[in-house]
């Protein structure tokens, strides 16, 4: 009976959690954007004229097909992260694309229309050098893969290996290039650096070595960086020291040295210290490359050259020119050149792209595309050309430009942007959500209360005028509602612009400020996902650490909101970037210079006169810099100094130390905890979120007594991992340390556990996930801290005056899935029950009720525990499909989840980011403060009206009856 009862109570509890979306709610409150990352290879499908496919392979190990008309994804394949999934090369022929993955581990052929896999071959080990199509008599039959010590030939139709041959003397010769002119031979070119070039010729049919020769080239170190194949089998190399080009025909029988051609004889000069780059093109893999090629002589200087009968002649000089590219359609090959619009003023912000005939160097008429760069963006970095033949047999083209800030822009003549993609968003590092500003009328009202009183009459007048403005706004709102109601639903969808940007009734629409690894900042409207502003910060070093802080919120009209981004490079040297999060404009406030590496930053609740919170930056000499550092702030800091504490973590030495601020903005060391690094190392330290509210001080238990929570706002959760990784001896350590006094409040060791460890610290609990090495599974563990049945000091919490340690309860559970990231929901007042948002590697996000992670779950259900709604303990945590908040909208490689409260207590805004970005709302305790969408207003008003009239009529009848009775 007890069992049945407990099952029943569990069911009752679960009834409350079913929070899945209905079919008609799909996409109503949520959106997803998919990205591919920085493009490495991009190919247009030139197979047919009507094709709109664009194939891209990116640094994020993604192979995808984009619609070249809209920029949307046709399909996308996400491979493993790291070098295992790295795409080495992408080649396309006809409908099929050949890809080499994982440093030559796999050779794959994809069908490009639907993205299906044709075949896959596992290649022999060896580091990948290059790959090429091999054609025989105008038909491409094979693909050759060159590794460090072997070459293999595979059938293009099936992937089967035709032959594999070891390369001669592969321990001394670096083989780097494979080439075939389409006439029965395969050339493999290798180099012994600063000595000679080795050319090996193989027979296509059986892999027999036909010829082998070496050519002296003492100036050459790498074939890939300085040599190309030009014309019918001519090797062309550039030598920066002698400023000359060298040619060598591969098929020549007698020649043994390379022919030098001095660049001076062409009348050109190489920029000082610049390695000349050669660019050639091979329009058809079964035919030899064209004899025309580009030579880049400087960062902004290209020339188009032609090799004819062993002689090089200049076709056209492009100075200045930023980027060049070849493209072929039909039999015509053209060269596209990006150059500044006005040749005298080299302004980077307006450039033009022109087409030139490759064989003559003549400019083609009416082929100009004006490309105007975003002043907040980066410089163009790569150019891809899509050419097609028009009806009159002239060449038309579109361009794909990738800039340094990872924007893909697709342009057509005369400069219209067909689409653009912000691929920097594939690598979001950190984000914040900022409230939108009030509308003009709301701000007017705010202003009225803000100003000082200046007499009775003016105030009355002001009041009346603002009331009138409100009335006006309401009328126009009504009119708009009426007007919109007549139009069909689909037309109402209005664009989000800065003009229409204002806070909604329940503050559900916010500005998402996202910081990406490439140093580009975005302001995104959370309701629609529209990018409203973007700002590219140049000179950001790779692997920089970003910390985004909201110094002033939108609440302080007329002061604009203010965000500060702290960027730290590898050494720790920091710089501050202050901007307005709503409009993205850089603030003119002078920022302090930071000459020393920054160790720690903290945002104090102290405010300056203009309501911006004070940011303290601690450098490696423990000196404190305040920002803003006005007189008012410094005075406040002096007054508060003895109660400002901060902590530093040095994970390399396992040292945690606490400091106190002194009046002169220097600091003093007050506590020190050292966790020996020989035994364990610190994996992560987390405090509580500053904007977290806890509504309830305690938990009411079955016997109506209260168990008070230990709500220490200064508590730090420190997670360590053992250095010994043996499965029996490895462990994960959890330390709860008070950040002010350095007191170790609790110390626990999870035996036989290993990383990945994820943890969340909130309210009075810490939840962590680890890998159990013995049972080989992921496990959740929850720690909850309680003060006991009585509070020590119920009015105020002070870390300095809390002598008794809290009671700690802990329980663990099995979780049937690995975990990518973990976060807790957050609501305005903290009344709503909490859920944990768990990002799974499958791309799903599970909203797990915290109720299941409660260390007070009893072994056997008793009356008291049932009274408290405690679920009886079961070791395995369930995953229910209705807990997936993103239904089928999976978020690939989810790296972080951000939660923000909304104006509605029931609603928490969630953004999951990784490769994709997904925004939605969650209702942990269902929408208790919102009427349902299908609420029957007509019924309730008709019932009310009916009752009203019934009362009136019955009252009248009763009066008549009374009167009649009185007469009787």
């Amino acid at each position: 009976m007890a069992g049945l009862c407990s099952v029943f109570s569990v069911c009752l509890c679960l009834l409350g959690f079913s929070a899945a979306v209905f079919e008609d709610q799909v996409g109503k409150f949520d959106w997803r954007q998919q990205f591919v990352g920085k493009v490495q290879f991009a190919l247009f499908d030139t197979h047919s004229q009507a094709s709109k496919k664009l194939l891209v392979a990116t640094e994020k190990n993604i192979f995808a097909s984009l619609n070249s008309r809209t920029g949307d994804l046709f399909w996308r394949h996400v491979d493993k992260t790291g070098p295992d999934g790295h795409i080495n090369t992408l080649m396309m022929h006809g409908q099929d694309a050949v890809v080499v993955v994982g440093n030559g581990r796999l050779l794959r052929s994809w069908e490009t229309t639907v993205g299906g896999l044709n075949w896959e071959t596992v290649l022999d080990t060896g580091s990948f050098q290059s790959a090429a199509y091999i054609g025989v008599q105008d038909v491409v039959r094979y693909v050759a893969v060159l590794k460090k010590s072997a070459i293999s030939l595979h059938y293009l139709s099936s992937g089967h290996q035709k032959w594999v041959e070891n390369l001669p003397e592969s321990d001394t010769v670096q083989y780097q290039t494979v080439y075939s002119g389409g006439n029965g031979q395969v050339f493999v070119l290798g180099v012994v650096p600063n000595s000679h070039i080795v050319i090996v010729e193989y027979n296509i049919e059986d892999g027999e070595i036909m010829k082998q020769k070496s050519v002296a080239a003492p100036w050459l170190s790498s074939l890939q960086s300085s040599c190309v194949m030009v014309g019918s089998g001519v090797l062309l190399c550039a030598d920066p020291t002698t400023k000359s080009l060298y040619t060598f025909p591969l098929q020549s029988a007698d020649q043994t040295t390379m022919t030098p051609i001095l660049l001076e004889s062409l009348g050109v000069e190489v920029a000082a210290g610049f390695q000349p780059v050669l660019i050639s093109t091979q329009p058809h893999p079964a035919r030899p490359p064209l004899s025309e090629f580009f030579l880049q002589l400087g960062p902004d200087y290209h020339i188009l050259l032609q090799l004819k009968d062993g002689l090089v002649s200049t076709l056209r000089d492009f100075n200045p020119s930023y980027l060049v590219a070849f493209a072929t359609t039909g039999e015509k090959t053209v060269a596209a050149v990006m150059s500044p619009k006005n040749e005298t003023v080299s302004s980077l912000y307006c450039t033009v792209i022109n087409l030139y005939s490759a064989d003559t160097g003549r400019r083609l008429l009416d082929t100009t595309i004006i490309y105007s760069m975003d002043p907040n963006g980066g410089k163009p970095a790569k150019l891809y050309i899509h050419t097609f033949l028009k009806k009159d047999d002239s060449v038309g083209y579109r361009v794909l430009v990738q800039t340094e800030d990872l924007v893909l822009t697709f342009l057509q003549q005369p400069g219209r942007v067909v689409w653009s993609r912000e691929e920097a968003l594939a690598d979001v590092v950190t984000m914040e959500m900022v409230d939108l500003p009030l509308t003009g009328t709301q701000a007017e009202l705010e202003g009225e209360f803000g100003k000082k009183a200046d007499g009775l009459l003016p105030m009355v007048l002001k009041r009346l005028s603002s009331q009138f403005i409100l009335l006006q706004a309401w009328m126009s709102h009504l009119w708009k509602l009426f007007y919109d109601a007549r139009k069909p639903r689909s037309h109402v969808k209005n664009e989000v612009t800065f003009e229409t940007l204002s806070r909604d009734e329940f503050n559900l629409q916010k500005m998402m400020v996202m910081v990406t690894a490439s140093g580009k900042l975005f302001g995104i409207d959370s309701k629609s996902g529209t990018v409203l502003w973007k700002q590219y910060l140049e000179n950001i070093q790779p692997n920089s650490v970003f910390k985004l802080m909201v110094q002033r919120t939108t609440a302080h009209f007329p002061h604009p909101p203010q965000c500060t981004l702290l960027v730290k490079d590898k050494v720790g040297l920091g710089s501050l970037y202050v901007f307005n999060p709503i409009f993205g404009k850089k603030s003119h406030i002078s920022v302090p210079a930071l000459p020393r590496p920054i160790l720690q930053s903290l945002l104090l609740p102290l405010m300056d006169q203009d309501y911006s919170k004070v940011l303290l930056l601690i450098d490696d000499q423990y000196k404190v810099t305040a920002f803003p550092s006005t007189k008012n702030v410094l005075q406040q800091l002096q007054e508060m100094a003895s109660s400002i504490f901060f902590y530093l973590v040095d994970s390399s030495q396992g040292r945690l130390s606490g400091f106190r601020l002194r009046k002169d903005l220097s600091t003093e060391l007050i506590w020190e905890v050292v966790i020996p690094t020989e035994v364990q190392k610190i994996v992560g330290v987390k405090g509580k979120r500053a904007n977290e509210h806890v509504h309830s001080q305690g938990r009411v238990m079955g016997d109506r007594s209260v168990l008070y929570k230990y709500l220490n706002p200064n508590l730090l959760a420190v997670v360590t991992e053992s250095t010994d990784s043996h499965q029996e001896r490895s462990f994960v350590g959890i330390f709860l340390i008070d950040g002010v006094t350095g007191r170790i409040v609790h110390e626990a060791v999870q035996r036989k556990a290993r990383r990945p460890v994820h943890f969340v610290h909130s309210e009075n609990w810490v939840v962590y996930v680890y890998w159990n090495t013995k049972s080989r599974r992921n496990e959740f563990s929850v720690l909850e801290l309680f003060e006991g049945m009585e509070l020590y000091n119920s009015t105020v919490f002070s870390s300095l005056d809390r002598p008794r340690p809290p009671q700690v309860l802990q329980q663990s559970y099995i979780f049937p899935s690995p975990i990518s990231t973990l976060e807790a929901t957050l609501t305005e007042k903290g009344i709503t029950s909490r859920h944990l948002l768990v990002g799974l590697p499958s791309g799903a996000i599970v909203s797990l009720p915290k109720m299941f992670l409660d260390p007070r779950r009893p072994e056997v259900a008793s009356d008291q525990s049932r009274e408290e709604n405690l679920i009886p303990y079961s070791p395995e945590m369930p995953i229910r499909t209705e807990w997936f908040i993103n239904y089928n909208q999976t978020v690939s490689r989810v790296r972080g989840i951000y939660t923000a409260p909304s104006g509605l207590e029931s609603t928490c805004l969630v953004v999951a980011y990784g490769l994709d970005i997904y925004q939605t709302r969650v209702y942990p305790s269902k929408q208790f403060d919102v009427l349902k969408d299908d609420y029957d207003y007509v019924l309730i008003s008709s019932v009310l009206l009916g009752l009203f009239f019934a009362t009136m009529i019955s009252k009248r009848l009763a009066e008549v009856k009374l009167l009649n009775r009185a007469w009787r």
Binding site: G3, S642, E668, L669, I670, W671, E672, V673, V674, I675, P676, V679, Q680, L707, F731, G733, I734, I737, T741, G742, R743, I744, H746, E747, A748, V749, Q750, R751, K752, N772, E779, S781, F786, G788, M789, E790, L791, Y792, N793, L800, D801, R802, P803, R804, P805, Q807, V808, L809, Q810, Q811, S812, Y813, I814, R856, E859, V860, Y873, S874, P875, E876
Partner: protein, 255 residues
């Protein structure tokens, strides 16, 4: 201030994860620290303290912590009285809301690690000097160790912990430390309790399952079978008797 007793009630009630702490004795400090050298099985580390009006730490020895290695980490603290000068300094520090700091060197409590316990540095902690004065030098010092017995942190709290501005008139109250010292090792976090759960499930299954399995088909459905059989028997008997009678008469007729 919460009474002590209620928190112990709470411990019983909520099944707290226990701290494996061993409390040492509350040394009254009057014993002279002679036993330090004589104790061969354990070893001792100096406990240093510092309280200065200008708040620049200058540590000197307050006492000796004697640690007995072995399974039970017994810990004793022997310390001297505060001199009159120290007392007045302490009161002055309390008046300017200064800090009272303590520190111990980094050591390992494990006996076999005594040789390589030349770890650098100290572990420090602090408490407000005023709360130490107002509590009449009643403090609780806890040494925290990690899994392998290294001391990783020290903490000091006073009982009571608040600074209320109460004047301590009696100089004698500030002479002797009333210290409780303990060593705290990490607790083992619980793993998912599968065994107990399975056991309980099995018990429940047994309770529910056994009587049902033992019942045979006939035992389960006898209430349906018996009336059916009875009905069949009745109808069959009627038929038989009717047939017999008819047959009998037919026979009779044939005769």
């Amino acid at each position: 201030m919460a009474p002590l007793s209620s928190s112990f009630i709470a411990i019983v009630f909520v099944n707290i994860v226990g701290f494996y702490t061993q409390y040492g004795d509350c040394n009254n400090g009057r014993r002279v620290p002679e036993t330090i050298e004589s104790d061969l099985t354990g070893f001792s580390v100096p406990l240093e303290h510092s309280f200065e009006v200008d708040d620049v730490p200058r540590f000197w020895v307050r006492g000796n912590i004697q640690l007995k290695a072995g399974r039970e980490n017994n810990v004793f603290l022997s310390q001297a009285m505060l001199s009159e000068k120290d007392r007045s300094v302490l009161k002055d520090v309390a008046a300017v809301d200064g800090l009272y700091r303590i520190r111990i060197p980094r050591v390992s409590l494990q006996a076999d690690r005594q040789t390589d316990r030349q770890l650098e540095g100290y572990l420090t902690a602090f408490v407000r000097a005023c709360s130490l004065v107002e509590s009449h030098l009643s403090d609780v010092i806890t040494l925290h160790t990690d899994v392998s017995g290294f001391v990783i942190g020290v903490s000091i709290v006073t009982m009571p912990g608040a600074c209320r501005g109460a004047e301590v008139e009696d100089e004698v109250d500030l002479e002797v430390f009333n210290t409780t010292i303990s060593v705290m090792a990490p607790v083992n976090a619980p793993a998912p309790e599968t065994a107990l759960f399975i056991e309980r499930m099995e018990q429940e299954m047994d309770k529910k399952g056994k009587p049902q399995e033992q019942k045979s088909f006939f035992a389960k459905y006898w209430m349906y079978i018996v009336p059916l059989v009875l009905f069949l028997m009745m109808s069959g008997a009627q038929d038989q008797s009717g047939g017999g009678a008819g047959g009998g008469s037919g026979n009779g007729g044939g005769r």
